[in-house]
């Protein structure tokens, strides 16, 4: 925003200005509290002992900071019948999200590059076809996927989910990369062709070095989406093969008379942590990448 930007709160008399400022800040602060409150409650609860929770109020400040819930949820908490904590499921999620994100990002970049810089007869149709995948709801694909995964022997496996997410994410990643690569001048590719470079050399030496802004966007997008995904995770895996989102639900399903709110809270935070961290460290690149290419220069 420039200083010359229009700010209606600077208009009018002092009284009017104070009034409009108050309204704006009240609304902003109100919504901020609304959004942050659950996180605060969950964080506080995870540091309380069970006794503290059950003898006091459900929402309260810890009487003394107790870290036992964190240890328990990581290594001894029970998910379904398995009492090894959620660490195996966290690792499942990592083993799912890392290859799925890398493979789909790579395919998206290559698709976008081929569809913009090596146009062929029908390339627009191919793109429209790929894009079609964006508009198909996941529920619609449950049965077909179940059938396919069964046929190729990948049901109840992390690699099966990797495949589902790579193919399912194809539409979005291709769309992102294609739109970004449209802003790379075709002359660069022509110059490289005359210089003697082929499809892959141009991709590796010219296009890829220009790609970090969009690759950050695609990686964050895919990472968060795949990490948080629940429907496919809970449908196509069971037992020890569950990713963390599916395990989280199994863990919070009531098993005993006493609900361990502190353990469940810690589990929720652990499950949400990777995506939070990614936004924390790469969020500004995300914003930058989303708007890159929309302005020349």
């Amino acid at each position: 925003m420039s200083d010359a930007g229009f700010d209606h709160t600077k208009l009018g008399t002092l009284q009017q200005r104070i009034f409009s400022r108050t309204v704006v800040y009240t609304v902003l602060i109100g919504f901020t509290i609304l959004y942050v409150l659950p996180l605060i409650v969950v964080t506080l609860t995870s540091f309380r002992s069970l006794e503290d929770i059950y003898t006091g109020s459900l929402i309260a400040f810890p009487r003394s900071f107790d870290f036992s819930a964190w240890g328990k949820v990581w290594s001894t908490g029970c998910v379904g019948g398995n009492c090894q904590g959620i660490s195996p499921y966290f690792i499942n999620s990592v083993e799912l999200v890392v290859p799925a994100t890398l493979i789909s990002t790579a395919i998206g970049a290559i698709n976008g590059y081929a569809l913009t810089k090596w146009r062929f007869k029908g390339s627009e149709f191919v793109f429209a076809f790929i894009l079609f995948g964006v508009f198909i709801p996941g529920q619609l694909m449950l049965l077909p996927w179940a059938w396919v995964l069964g046929k190729i022997g990948l049901s109840n496996s992390t690699w099966g989910l990797v495949m589902v997410h790579v193919i399912g994410g194809l539409g979005f990643v291709t769309l992102f990369c294609r739109n970004y690569y449209m802003s790379i001048p075709d002359e660069l590719i022509k110059a490289a062709r005359i210089d003697g470079a082929g499809f892959w050399t141009i991709f590796r030496r010219i296009v890829l070095p220009l790609s970090p802004p969009i690759l950050v966007v695609v990686v964050i997008w895919q990472f968060t989406h795949i990490w948080n995904e629940f429907l496919f995770a809970t449908t196509f895996t069971s037992g020890y093969n569950k990713p963390i989102t599916a395990a989280l639900i199994a863990m919070t399903a009531p098993q005993t008379d006493i609900r361990e709110y502190n353990v469940e809270s810690a589990a929720v935070i652990i499950a949400a942590l990777p995506t939070l961290l990614i936004y924390f460290f790469a969020g500004r690149y995300f914003m930058r990448g989303l708007t890159a290419g929309s302005v020349k220069g």
Binding site: P185, E187, L188, A191, R193, I194, D195, A197, L210
Partner: protein
């Protein structure tokens, strides 16, 4: 022959962009393709480069038909309008990229870079990135990237149109010097007729997917093949006015004024085509510098000169000369005169015309009679 294009056609879907192009360039020639936008000049260049495929016809580069040969194997180099420097590479890497991809040994690469960088005076820029260069420096690096491979044919695609007016004139001179030093064959595309005149050994004026005229700059300027070339070439378009060829005191052309009066101008040494058209209406073309003030002529008017009287409408001083706008035969015309002898608006003046330099066009075909 460095380049030969024969009977070349190109269509994009139903749109025919090139309609039978024939063009050849001797070794060391500087050929400029000039024309308004949409005339097909850039498409022709892209086909010569191998970036586009012709629908029909042959391209020969250095005695080899290259129709099916990949751009990289055509022994050409190209400079693009927006330079197309690789933004993530340094100047040095930009220069060596083509050599690296072709597997030229490292020491030869470095030697080539040193030679070209010295030649173009960009040695101190070698470690910078394109974004850290000025427009003129980028232009030089873009040329360096073409030079470093020593091709038999240089292709330039409007290389100066992104520069401001002053830099454009400077770089134009540099390109000319470069060509004089290297003597490599050049095909250069531009829409700027001044660039074409100043740089070319031969100009191909293109319009509507065809070459209207392919000749040296002076011929193109003085003896345009048709009305399009006459209007397109030159800082000022050729003055055109309707007249009737007739036999009087030798061959003459009569230009009628709307007020009923008429002026007869001589046509010295009429060619056969003009002689055959006596009695017919034609179009007379006169370049603005072939007018002069009547009073500059002392003594008798020589037989190749015509005289006209006219009212000055507007004068436009440019410093070196003054443009005098007047009406003649119901057309607006421009004469260039020396500022010292410039008339004022509204003045009644007499002008002489050097009719040896005049062109006569057929109004139906728009071709110059005798071309």
């Amino acid at each position: 022959m460095s380049l030969e294009v024969s009977d070349l056609y190109k269509s994009f879907g139903p749109v025919e962009v090139l309609k039978g192009i024939n063009l050849e360039a001797e070794p060391g020639e500087f050929v400029v393709l000039v024309g308004p936008s949409g005339c097909g000049k850039s498409t022709l260049l892209a086909i010569i480069a191998g970036l586009e495929k012709a629908s029909q016809g042959d391209v020969v580069i250095g005695n080899r038909i290259v129709n099916e040969i990949h751009p990289k194997d055509r022994d050409i180099a190209m400079v693009f309008q927006n330079y197309a420097l690789y933004p993530t590479m340094t100047v040095r890497e930009n220069l060596t990229f083509g050599l690296q991809v072709r597997g030229i040994p490292k020491n030869e690469q470095q030697e080539a870079v040193r030679r070209v960088a010295e030649f173009l005076k960009i040695t101190e820029l070698l470690n910078r990135r394109p974004s850290q260069l000025s427009g003129g420096q980028r232009q030089r690096v873009a040329m360096g990237r073409a030079l470093v491979r020593n091709p038999i044919l240089f292709l330039f695609d409007e290389p100066l149109s992104n520069l401001d007016a002053k830099l454009r004139v400077e770089m134009r001179t540099e390109i000319k010097k470069l060509h004089q030093a290297l003597r490599t064959t050049v095909v250069y595309v531009t829409h700027d007729q001044i660039e074409a005149m100043t740089l070319a050994s031969r100009i191909a004026v293109m319009h509507g997917g065809q070459i209207q005229q392919y000749a040296d700059p002076q011929t193109t300027y003085e003896r345009p093949n048709n009305i399009f070339v006459a209007s397109f070439m030159g800082a000022l378009p050729m003055n055109l006015v309707k007249g009737t060829l007739m036999n009087g005191d030798g061959v003459q052309i009569r230009v009628d004024d709307p007020d009923g009066s008429s002026v007869d101008l001589p046509i010295p040494n009429p060619n056969d085509a003009i002689a055959r058209n006596i009695g017919r209406e034609v179009i007379l073309g006169i370049r603005s510098e072939h007018f002069d003030r009547r009073e500059h002529m002392t003594g008798d008017i020589p037989p190749h000169m015509g005289t006209i009287n006219c009212n000055v409408e507007v004068t436009e001083p440019t410093g070196a000369e003054t443009m005098v706008v007047f009406r003649f035969g119901d057309e607006e015309m421009v004469a260039r005169v020396e500022p010292d002898s410039a008339p004022g608006p509204g003045d009644k003046i007499g002008l002489t015309v050097d009719m040896r330099k005049a062109c006569i066009f057929d109004p139906a075909t728009e071709r110059r009679l005798g071309a």
